[in-house]
């Protein structure tokens, strides 16, 4: 009798806690700057309020530091509950290897197909007709952030587009400012390059190169003009010596630098510092030349797990992330754009409204993360950081860039 009782008691103690109690879900991400952390706190708050427990697994140092850690945990058999990736090809092989949870049933129950806008975001989550990730925001990297104070100090009008910005560079430098703040990390140089490509070469060229992968256009005169423009940017950024993107944003915030090319997440830093869009700083989507934004973004992937409880909690979190309330709360803090077209962002500031307008007008281009493998992206990052910090000739960089793209065909 005794062993039976013991077994029963043990069984009960195991069964009891799982009935209706909170499930711990570890969520890894690389959102660690002030504005980003405030946004993540909104997600955690909503998940905890729904009865589960968000275990925060922030990894400092940006995506390029965090992703290897996440991937080795997943492939090494120590999966977290959920993890951030930029959707597209970063997690593609993990999905193909069957390491990610299929969210198609959640997506169908919640009607993601009709609500997620632009639809390319959900397409980037789809592999062989099944959905593997929950998009949370739209990244648009093609923004030029300008410091009104720096221009006032130098006695210049705030530029309204990239061409004026380049022209104002020497005068700004004479007033002791850094015209263009640029962090030394490779991905930031590549981001600036891509933003200048969309702005200078325009949508058609961008699509022909990055979507249709037409190598003749990539080697053609339109892209040569882009490389010349990046050569201009390089001169303006020569005095910038910071490392992280938020240190560069801080130079713009304090008026030591004229401007910075950075994604909409820079907005979070401005709002943490309580700066007002339009009076303290100015933002130009598409660098003020071509108001196109590329719609990459962040998405959460849910690594496969043996525990049915955890799986249920994963699906609850996936549904929650796309829900309208969470979308509003999260994106207002982060300064990024929501992934659904059916919600009202009345509280949005000047810059977010500009972004929403571009989004509504449909001037969207798919991001490089979605169309090129991480291998190609890395090679381009290496090239761009070298180009920005040495006196490499623009046509040499152009030729190398084309051969980088060809390696990914």
């Amino acid at each position: 009798m005794k062993p039976f009782k013991l077994a029963a008691a043990l069984a009960a103690s195991v069964a009891l806690p799982s009935a209706g109690l909170a499930t711990d879900l570890e969520v890894t991400h690389w959102w660690t700057s002030g504005g980003e952390a405030a946004a993540v706190a909104e997600l955690a708050k909503a998940f905890n309020a729904a009865g589960d427990n968000w275990v925060d697994g922030a990894i400092a140092g940006g995506g390029s530091t965090a992703r290897p850690i996440m991937i080795s945990r997943i492939t090494g058999g120590d999966p977290m509950g959920a993890t951030q990736f930029n959707h597209g090809q970063q997690a593609l092989e993990l999905v193909e290897a069957g390491l990610m949870l299929d969210l198609t049933d959640v997506a169908e129950a919640e009607g993601w197909k009709d609500k997620v806008f632009p639809p390319s975001l959900l397409e980037a989550c789809t592999v062989d007709g099944r959905i593997y990730c929950a998009p949370v925001n739209i990244h648009s990297p093609e923004w030029l952030w300008l410091s009104n104070k720096a221009y006032a100090d130098a006695g210049l009008p705030v530029p309204t587009n990239w061409t004026e910005f380049v022209e104002s560079g020497p005068a700004l430098e004479a007033a002791g400012k850094i015209p263009l703040a640029l962090g030394n990390q490779a991905w930031q140089s590549n981001l600036a390059f891509n933003a200048i490509t969309v702005a200078v070469a325009g949508l058609d060229v961008w699509k022909q190169v990055n979507v249709e992968k037409n190598m003749e256009v990539a080697a053609g005169p339109e892209m040569a003009a882009v490389f010349a423009a990046v050569g201009d940017a390089r001169k303006l950024a020569a005095k910038s010596t910071v490392q992280d993107w938020n240190q560069a944003t801080n130079l713009v915030l304090s008026g030591e630098a004229g401007g910075q090319i950075m994604g909409d997440w820079a907005q979070g830093e401005f709002s943490v510092a309580e700066k007002v869009a339009g009076t303290d700083y100015t933002c130009l989507p598409g660098l003020g030349l071509n108001a196109y934004l590329s719609t990459g973004g962040d998405a959460f992937y849910f690594p496969k797990n043996d525990d049915a409880e955890v799986e249920a909690a994963q699906k609850r979190l996936a549904a929650l992330l796309v829900s309208p309330e969470v979308q509003v709360a999260f994106n207002l803090k982060k300064g990024s754009l929501p992934i659904r077209g059916d919600i009202d962002l009345a509280a949005a500031n000047d810059c977010m409204k500009k972004g929403l307008e571009v989004l509504a007008s449909g001037n969207l281009v798919p991001s490089g993360d979605m169309s090129w493998s991480p291998d190609v992206v890395k090679q381009n990052e290496d090239l761009m950081v070298e180009f920005f910090r040495t006196d490499m000739a623009p046509d040499a960089a152009h030729a190398q860039w084309v051969s980088n793209l060809e390696s990914g065909l």
Binding site: E93, Q185, T241, S373, P374, D375, V377
Partner: protein, 297 residues
Amino acid sequence: MAEARRVNRMWRNMNAKIAAVPMILTTLVVFVGGTAWTVVYSFTDSKLLPRERWVGFDQYERLWSNSRWLTSIENLMIYGVLSLVFTITIGFLLAVAMDQKIRFEDTFRTIMLYPFALSFIVTGLVWQWILNPEFGIQHIVRGLGWESFTFNPLNNPDLVLYGLLIAGLWQGTGFVMCLMLAGLRGIDEDIWKAARVDGIPTWKTYVQIILPMMRPVFITTLVIVAAGIIKLYDLVVAQTSGGPGNASQVPAMYVYDYMFQAQNLGQGFAASTMMLLTVLIVLIPWAYLEFGGRKHG
């Protein structure tokens, strides 16, 4: 007879041999096996996950036409040669200075060895701040009145390697000094006495008698320092993260970036195989001279 004796020797000291089995297995499976696996998979086009699609020497061709890899190799050679020469020279000179029966020797030894207790990450960050023009040496000297003084090695592609070298030397020479000091203390007092009786000047005793006698110490130091140079990674990550541009990249960073960030294992394996080859090129002639030569002699 000879046969029986060999069998006998094999079965002798069984306890020690059984105790060594786990270590031997670890060496064979983890080190040798892992190395072989890496070399084999460097001939595939493995991306995020390893797969057996053979591509011959493609990964190596791409590697040796990549400007970042070529810069890394060049940097490693410059850093390696300078670092070897300076750590060993400075380390030896410091050890000789320590050996002059000075007062407070223990205190000085502690001070000299202290940097070695810090990790390369801390060393890198500390020197990043010291060499930063806004906070470090340049700022202080300008504050003292030399307004035009410029010292900004970490943001100058031509000087950044020397910025790394300063930090590397600061960290490493204390340890080399201790090794050398141990070597000097191991020299018999009688040799010094004999040299003094013969009227040989002190500097000549060091160069012509003590230095040759310290050959084993020098070889140990050489191997330790050289191994540290080839795996140089964390110091660069902390101090410059390879910048400005790609001016301070090293091979280990290339391996890590391509294996994990670019999700291109094949390329990373090819690069790490080349690193292994570099080590072997240094190690094999040395091992042959050290161990091969002795048997005949």
